[in-house]
């Protein structure tokens, strides 16, 4: 009985802040407002509208950029997590802290900082000028958006992998070496398979915010690289079409849910095993 009651604040919280807003979004997405009469009508028109090549292109660009960012984060983050996990314990804490430190700064501020680094009169161009090298346009292109994503979301890849790596029993690595495995074999057959749960949560935690971001693309892409997030923002704040905006959000949500379900399929088998150690 007591347990049931003590869950009440959480139930209330999720009802007010998660379930009701979700239902509202779902409700908006399947209705339209007649522009003349102001009547609200049930319709799937918003969803239909999204399947215009124009919007599909935006969705594809979002998925592609988020996917690229995730792959780069994994490629950079895994070795970083390994280096972190192999440090002596004392240094490990400091290094992990240094790693998290930028995350304490405002996200927007960090992205603005990149604008001043990459901008026309930014640090990069100044350095190039000083070295008498030709200056370039680094801002407002796809590369800048990708850089912003990788920079902002890299810690979300490193931390879960680092956590899993530190939990791997050293004697498993020693056992593999004992059985004749050199460092590369140990990495391939022991360390990587055992860190799959960390990789999965890293991918989820990078891909999800990357696919729905609108700040990074707005600031570093200069509005030329519209992503799904920007589309939603635009519908709500500029066009004032909450119905279409909600439909896009719902589509994005379903997309994320599907990708999570696919990832979890890889996860379930190995996670149980690793927890056992």
């Amino acid at each position: 009985m007591f347990r049931k009651h003590s869950a009440f604040p959480y139930v209330l919280w999720s009802a007010v802040f998660i379930i009701i807003p979700l239902l509202l979004v779902a409700g908006y997405s399947v209705t339209t407002k007649d522009s003349q009469t102001g009547e609200v009508l049930l319709s799937l028109e918003n969803y239909q509208k999204f399947f215009d090549p124009l919007y599909i292109k935006v969705l594809w660009r979002s998925v592609r950029l988020a996917g690229q960012a995730t792959i780069i984060c994994l490629a950079l983050g895994y070795p970083m997590a390994m280096i972190l996990a192999n440090m002596p314990v004392k240094k490990q804490r400091t290094a992990a802290l240094l790693f998290i430190l930028p995350m304490w700064m405002n996200f927007l501020l960090r992205t603005y900082a990149w604008m001043s680094i990459l901008g026309k009169n930014g640090i990069v161009n100044r350095v190039l000028e000083f070295l008498h090298l030709p200056q370039g346009h680094f801002l407002y292109n796809e590369g800048a958006v990708l850089l912003g994503m990788v920079y902002n979301f890299l810690p979300f890849m490193v931390l879960p992998i680092y956590t899993v790596l530190t939990k791997i029993d050293v004697s498993l690595i020693e056992a593999a070496e004992d059985l004749g495995a050199n460092a590369a074999t140990v990495l391939r057959y022991i360390i990587v398979p055992l860190s799959v749960p960390g990789i999965i949560s890293g991918i989820t935690m990078v891909f999800m915010p990357a696919v729905s971001t609108f700040v990074i693309s707005a600031l570093l892409g200069g509005g030329q690289f519209m992503l799904v997030g920007n589309l939603v923002e635009q519908q709500f704040l500029l066009v004032n079409n909450w119905h279409f905006g909600s439909a896009i959000s719902m589509i994005l949500m379903v997309l994320i849910l599907i990708s999570m379900a696919v990832l979890n399929r890889y996860d379930t088998s190995s996670e149980k095993e690793v927890n056992m150690i």
């Binding site: 056992a175 070496e177 059985l179 050199n182």
Partner: protein, 349 residues
Amino acid sequence: MNSKIIHGVNVVKEFDGVRVVDGIDFWVKQEEFLTILGPSGCGKTTTLRMIGGFETPTSGEILFDGKSITDLPPYQRPINTVFQRYALFPHMDIYENIAFGLRIKKLPESEVRDRVSNMLKLVELDGFEKRSVRSLSGGQQQRIAIARALVNEPKVLLLDEPLGALDLKLRKEMQYELKSMQQELGITFIYVTHDQEEALTMSDKIIIMNDGRIQQIGSPIDIYNEPENAFVADFIGESNILDGIMHEDYLVSFAGGTFKCVDSGFSRNENIEVVIRPEDIVFTKPEDGMITGIVDTIKFKGVHYEMIVMQGETEWMIHSTDMVQEGTEVGLHFDPDEIHIMKKVKKNV
């Protein structure tokens, strides 16, 4: 062919300036069952890890068949290890666990299959190929760990307290199984334990370590009957250890009396320590005893009673199947060959 398959020469290991292994020399012959015995923190596991290649000696050498392997990484040594907590790979099934070493050697699949199934038969777990590690009990995991090491046909098998996590009954069973496996396969075993009974039961040769130094090397019988110092006497079985003086060959005095003994070769009036095993002492009438005392406490131990007899301030432990009431005055008797004389060593605190 060198009969010393593993030979440690003046091996030292320091961790952050602390000497964990302090210059030890030892060897093990082919097909021998060697046990390194000692209390926790004595350096026995570190010694084993240096043989396995998981630690590099600070100084000294480890020879395999006369050739130095001191700087070889673990994967280049013809040695396999059974780890304390088994260290089975949780993401592989039993078959893949055992096949791991063979797969690395790139053996053909048919040979891998044969050898794995032979090993499973040896450890009496055939039919477990597709089981997951976590579905096995501690004893079964233990057997798989042994199979995974033995399948590679190592020249030397290292075992780091492999039975420590098992219950008493299973432990005894596994002791016999390990011993018979070792004899059957003719592999050299180097076994680390803190359990003196385990060491006495299984080994051909025991190395007793304390504070990073070897206290005694010998057969189980030698070590039990002729402990070289008070530490060994105390660590192997129960014993009464007393300070004494060796007057001349075959004459020693301790506990307020002077007695005949069978030891010689000490200097005149040398300070020594005397060990008498509690089961070697028999009760007599007070007037017939070499020593008299009063029975202080009695504990029932199953096969025998453990009694403490107070001779003034001196405690004597006696194991006997006869019970004597508390408070009774008794005489104690022991034969000259049951008095073991040991050189006095400086105690390391």
